[in-house]
Every structure is written in C-alpha cells, then in structure tokens.
Subunit: 385 residues, 2 copies
C-alpha cells in the first residue's frame, strides 16, 4: 500500500445556480482542481453524487463528466452513499491510488438541487433513509433529525436555545468564505426567532438545499512534491456503516457508524482526537454536530453540545469545527458536501484559509455522513514536510 | 498489486418478481455467493445498481444491503455506471483486493424494474443517455439502437432478418439456464414475425425489463484455494469510456469505449481474442452484439453479424456468446447484468454450465456496457490450476 497525497483542489461557490447545469458545475470544480494540481490527464475519475437521476434526469455521470472535461476514455464511475457520496468517491480514489492501480485520480462531488424535474427535493432526500420503514411512513430527513434532537434534549436536559452555538459558529466562519452560500453572521437572538421547520428543528438548525461541486486530485505521496508545491498527505481514509433506519440502531443517540469510521481512521493514522487541529463535521442539522463530536471522541456522550456552549469550537478554540461555514453556512449540496469538506481541510493545512485560518494547523479531519448516520466516511489529512 | 480470484458466486432467477423487494433480491444473491465462498464476513460490499432511486424510491443501497445481510459496520457503497453498474461494482471490488486494501469483498448487482413508483421504466433508462442532448429530444434507448441498427444495415448491406441469428442463439442457450427469464427457443421464422418495437428493432432484437440480482465474492488469489474448492482467477479487469451521446462519437458504428476496454483487458491478461473460449457480451439489442464482437477483435468492422450468420457463435463454435442466454434471454435487470455475466463465466470455467457447457473452457470474457457504449467494463477470467 502506497501513501497517498492530495495534489490539487477546486470548488464552485455553493448557491442556487439556476443557470448552471449539473455537468457545468462539475466541470468548473474539476478544472480548478486539475489546474491547481498542474495535471491535464488522470487515470480515473470518480464522481460523488446522490440525486442526479431523481432531480435532473441524468445517470451515468462518470462517463458524461469525463468526456465533458476532455478525459474521454478513462475509467469513470459514479459513487453513491446518500449525503456521504462526495467522500465515498474520494475513498474510492484513495483505494485506487493507495493500491497502485492508478497514479492520478480525479474526484468530483456534484449536486444540482435547484431547477429540478421532480420529485420534490425533500422526497428525493428521503431516499437516503429506509424507504420501506421510514420514508414510507412520511418521515422526511428534517423529521428524523427533529426526533433525534428532541430525544437529546430530553435525555441530557438541554434547551433548544443551547443549539444556537452551532449556528452562530458556522455562520461566523461562513461569512469569511467566498465559496459559502450564506456569508453573514447570525446571533443567538436571531436563532431564537428563526422560523420553526419541524419542532424543535428551526431554520437555523438546518442546512440549505443548494447546488455545488468540489473536486480533488489524488496522487502517490512520493510523487506529490514533484507535481505540486503544496501537497497534503492523506493520513487515513476509513468507512463505517450502520442501519439506515434509526429504530434499528443500538442507541439512536450514538452514531455507531461514526464511532467505527473514526476509530478506523485514528488507527490508520496512528493518532487520536488530541492530535486533530480542526474537524470538518457533518452538521446537516445542529443535532448531527453534537452527535458527531461525541462519536469522534471530542466529547463524552451527551456532552457534544456542551463543547459548543463552553466556546470550544471556534477557530481559535480547542477543536475548530465548520471552519469554512460547514454544511449549515457553506451549504450542503448533498453529494458534493464530502468533497467540499476535504477541500477545506486542504485549505487549512496549506495556510490558505484567510480570516478563518486555524493557526499552525498540522492535521485536520473531515467526516461525511450518509443518511442519519448509516454511512460515515472519515479522512484525516496532514501537512507534508 | 495482488492477483485476485472469485471464490463464490450466487444469482437469483431473472424475472418479473412482483412480490420480491429490492433488498430481498440482493440478499438472496449475496447469501448464495457467500455460502458458495464459505465466508460469513467481508471487508467491504459494493452494490451495482442504476435505478433504485428512480424506480423504487431508495438510494443508499450500500449500507442498506450490508445491514440487511448481517454485515452492518463494513464499508459499503453503491456504484453506478448505467447498465454497466454491475461490472463497475466488481471492478471496484477488484481494485480494493488487488491493491491490498481489502481481503474479502462482496459485490452484488441488483435491479428492481417491476412494481415501480415511476417514472416509467423507459424514461428512467433514458437517463443512461445524454439527458440534455438525447433524452430531451425524446430519444429512448430502443430508438438509439434502432438508429444504429439501421445504419449498420445500410453501411454493410445486411437485411433485418440476418439479425435473427443472435436471438436464435441466445434463446437456445437461455432454454437450458434455470436462472434465465425466457426458457424457450425461438426460430428465425418467429423472429421474422416478431412485433416491431421501433423500426428496425423488433421484440426479439430486445432484452426484457425485469428484476434480478447476482453476486460474487472476491479474495486474493494466493488465499483462494484455502477458501474455495473452485476459485477462478481474474486475469484482467479494465474500463474504457466514450461520449454518452452517439452523435459525439468518432464513428457511431465503432464502440471506441469497448475497443479501449478490451485492449486494456487483453494487455493486462497477456492474451488476445484467439485465447478466449467464450464471450459474455452485452446483447441488450441485437446490434450491440454485432458491434461488441467487432470491438473485441472477433470480427472486422461490419463483420460481427457475419460471424453469427456463419454459425460461429454457438456453444460448440469458434466463439460462444450469450452462453446462458445473454441479456436477450437470461434477461437484463440493468444494474445486475454485469454481475450475472461474470457469474456465468465462472460457471463455465468450473464446468458447471450443464447443457450449455463450453468444452474445455479455460478462459472467458465478460463485457458489460453502460448506455449505448459510453462505459465498458471488461473482465477476463481464467481457470486456476
């Protein structure tokens, strides 16, 4: 097994791109990543995407985007793991390069959620849950997260208003990220008055429906310095899974898939949570931020939210999260989110995160979650000396 | 890079399984393959599927099927490459095992095309074509194949009736395959009278809409004999791509993606067409059988159909194709087809193909095509001594 590096990254500003098609979104991110890497060819392209068929009437994105990007002929597939598709595609690229089956692999995560053919986007997103036992009962994703949030508040004695800390942090960071969808700060007062979506989840607990694409280029670490002036080492790439249906889980308030995925990643990298300088977690809803902090070992059970309340998640704090806005403020174009997270960790490790730069960031973790915890892909990235 | 072997195979009879859900289809094939391999666990599961979201309202099949099969926790993703999804998932499993990132990988291709939520299946299948430039013009897959067939007849002077040779061969073989959907022979006379679907493609030129699942278990070749009494060597696993839109191709009557994919496979295995004892090709429509024979080097341009007319494609002939019925008679549950093809080559190499056994079969090739030639995955399998 070879060490793997990221030699280029690219991203499209997240937003409602009514005038940009799926293939153009992907192209923009992919070309930026390949230009950053200084490569014009790749051995393979893996596309992370969840809903291209349902929302835009297009499957077969691998060959489509390869051809559109001038890479006709190369190996190219779409990888799907619900909202975890973006990092799943990076994982497949990592497997190909680490195993020596490919030298240069391009990965693009892309999702087009506006200007859709239908079904409505909420119905389409519910396909990440168990269709026979959850979605068929009318349970949408926001409803599932509302149930989890309510239970968390009940078990550990939190008030809804306590969750404001996550939204305030994410929006503060998003305001400084030119690729973020929401570039404005929010206050705890604004959180308290935000429109209720599905009690207790309000608008500022939720990530937006949006369009976006982000891309990375992978190469063997021993060739990375020759190819790139700022390569980043992939110290770990790991996956854990769990039941799709929340009622099938061992404990609805423990993300077992994330526990497994993180443990595998720590073992591969030979590190622990104390070594992680920033954590791009999957804050699709506030409750997911709390549960992710716990599953990844930054807080004990029921204490993830306390970490935020104690002011330990900001750029200069113990464990900076959502440093470029997270899913909440940068945005959550579902199949692209996992690649955005990895692009952002690379920016931090390169020292290019601008006003959001985590000082002396040497190791960052990105964790992308499919569904409400059924697929969890964790990447730990480190500076290359 | 390690050599890889297939240590177990399983399949569900192809048909209209109105009473069997997607997850149950997958489970049946997967359990059969794991029982055949004699393993109860796997390091990863890759699911080949094209249309679970569109037709059954379920994405996120990786974790869903892993959990349902008792494999909760393992790495699991869905791999999509239109009708090439089944072999694309096998390719990803091959990459993981060959590269040393996993030891035991289970792969299941599954498609549920009856009892669907909608859109109608023909519309869903058109998502394998270029949505903006083909499907949006109303071009369905049968229409695309009709255009190609018409052009082939015009360029090379064939009559439509000449294509009967493919249907007669496929149905003769399907009649003996207990897992085939259509278990009856057809005659050239019946072909001549078959209902016209889209001139010149008639009913017996076309593969059916159906449900099915097939699975394989992969392991390192050096461990295969310890695990299985009848392992089969993966001599090559290769991919080639082309433009989705037929009008963007260099020549509509040359499957450049298949030429690339086959050439890469021959190079990896160190063999040529003369070494292949049987060829499971992607005969979704008769014209695809002709073009595949040409792209894979068994016939010159325009001569693929002549091979069939000269009686060279039967079980005892020069290059047996569709030996268990092919897409035409075994059936074409799109995302499962690629795994069925590989299962069938394994049956032949193990000497377990019954009345359809190719005598002394030592090396077989399976070629799975996404769309009308945009993604082509080729596997060459060989007996292990």
């Amino acid at each position: 097994m070879r060490d793997v590096a990221i030699i280029g990254v690219g991203q499209k500003k997240v937003g409602e791109h009514w005038d940009v098609s799926l293939r153009h979104l992907a192209l923009e991110a992919l070309q930026a990543a390949m230009a950053d890497a200084g490569v014009a060819q790749a051995d393979a392209l893996y596309v992370g995407n969840m809903l291209s068929g349902e929302l835009t009437g297009q499957e077969h994105l691998g060959a489509l985007i390869a051809d559109f990007a001038g890479l006709r002929g190369i190996e190219a597939f779409k990888i799907e793991a619900a909202c975890g598709s973006g990092a799943a595609a990076v994982r497949m690229g990592y497997v190909a390069v680490a195993g020596g089956l490919a030298d240069i692999v391009a990965v693009v995560g892309v999702e087009k959620m506006t200007d859709t053919l239908g079904p409505d986007t909420t119905t389409a997103l519910a396909m990440a849950a168990d269709g026979d036992y959850e979605a068929s009962q009318g349970v949408s994703f926001v409803a599932l997260n509302a149930l989890l949030m309510q239970r968390y508040m009940y078990e550990y004695g939190y008030r809804h208003q306590d969750f404001a800390a996550f939204a305030v942090n994410a929006h503060r960071n998003g305001a400084n990220n030119p690729f973020a969808m929401f570039r404005f700060p929010v206050t705890a007062e604004r959180f308290a008055k935000a429109k209720m979506i599905c009690t207790p989840v309000n608008l500022l607990d939720s990530s937006p429906i949006c369009d976006g694409a982000a891309a990375v280029v992978l190469a063997p670490a021993d060739a990375a310095h020759a190819l790139s002036t700022a390569p980043v080492r992939v110290a770990a790439s790991a996956v854990g899974t769990d039941a799709l249906a929340v009622h099938d889980r061992r404990d609805p308030l423990v993300l077992d898939g994330a526990v497994l995925s993180t443990r595998r990643a720590y073992e591969q990298a030979g590190v622990g949570p104390e070594d992680i300088d920033l954590f791009e977690l999957h804050d699709a809803f506030s409750i997911m931020a709390a549960l992710s902090l716990e599953a990844a070992g930054f807080a004990d059970k029921g204490q993830g939210l306390r970490l935020a309340l104690e002011g330990k998640i900001g750029i200069e704090d113990r464990i900076p999260i959502a440093t470029m806005g997270g899913l909440k403020a940068r945005g959550h174009p579902v199949g692209a989110t996992g690649t955005y997270q990895i692009v952002e960790v690379v920016q931090q490790l390169r020292g290019l995160a601008g006003a959001n730069q985590v000082k002396n960031a040497r190791m960052g973790m990105a964790q992308n979650i499919g569904g409400s915890g059924a697929t969890v892909i964790t990447h730990i990235l480190g500076r290359m000396e």
